[in-house]
Amino acid sequence: MVVKVYGPVRAACVQRVLLCLLEKDVEFEIVHVDLDAGEHKAPDFLLRQPFGQVPAIEDGDLKLFESRAIIRYYAAKYEERGPKLLGKSLEERAVVDQWVEVEAHNFNDLVYTLVLQLVILPRMGKQGDLALAHGCEQKLEKVLDIYDQRLSNSTYLAGDTFTLADLTHLPAIRYLVNDAGMGHLVTQREHVNAWLQTISNRSAWKKLMMLANY
């Protein structure tokens, strides 16, 4: 049974799910959703994802939305296969979860707003709010200082192996560095820089980049 992932392959939240499935070697099929055409707000799609967002998945009878819920499900379902994305013990799993929450609440909103103002709106021919973007950049500096401190004590966010905690950051960081021109936020921090080099070198991430035509 192939997992159907609904959403455009370039959306960060969709990539979060695809990356997890690639790490766990789970077969999937991408069902494109045309955001420009408003397909995500059409009645059919709202039955899959009532907030009108991507991604959503369908796996046999199972239907799920929210990328971080989806990756938790598949990381647990295929725990015995591939990398231990949830750590090796109850305590390690809690630390993994903690950093997934940090990404969701302390990191993602800042990156999203910054990318929206500097990249997405201009692409749509609209004016981005530069002051707002700059404010986000300054807040991100402080957040990444904390990440740098953390990563000076361990190779990966949750410990000494790659987990969901690291995986969940990759899609948005790519937007931040490659599309929004914020690479200095990473390169100016020794441990964040080393961490990003390591995790972007994984074959699952490279496969995803090819799939997304980068």
Binding site: E66, S67, L90, R93, Q98, D109
Partner: protein
Amino acid sequence: MATPVKVYGPPLSTAVSRVLACLLEKDVQFQLIPINMSKGEHKNPDFLKIQPFGQVPAFQDESISLFESRSICRYICEKYPDKGNKGLYGTNPLAKASIDQWLEAEGQSFNPPSSVLVFQLAFAPRMKIKQDQTAINQNEEKLSKVLDVYEKRLGESQFLAGDDFSLADLSHLPNTHYLANAAGRGELFTSKKNVGRWWGEISNRDSWKKVVEMQKQRT
């Protein structure tokens, strides 16, 4: 008898009260260690060692030090599956997936607009900070749209993730309590039939009533 777990933070904090509600549902003994945020205790070097972002809550037991309220809640449920409310985080992977889905919906869609409203309407006045009416209007509109989705969902199932009360519902208690009481915005919830029914049920749970009592005592 196990040593009580430690929770750091003021019970008035929405994120702290999320963890307290979970501990009470799971019947896990805890010790609440106050952190005086108006005195900046959450930015003290000692506290930053256990919560480097300088936020509340933080949590410790004999084997771990953790932060982020929703992951603390998940940990408590996983560590004590047989205590208190056994189904709080589901008893099988599919139930857990549904709970995680609605926990994420709370974190991503409900929490942002409701947090702004809680701050603007319940906390800003008492902190003598000027309210931002534009922010209030925008976030009331956003929250109303989110509650439209909840209204439909709660017409299909008793609680958000299914027919049993779960972490997904619990996670909504702190912000909704302030909105319905201190902020005087109860109508946002009670004007919708299913959401009103749901709020009435979840806020009436013994665990939440105990948290509200703790909040009153520490005012």
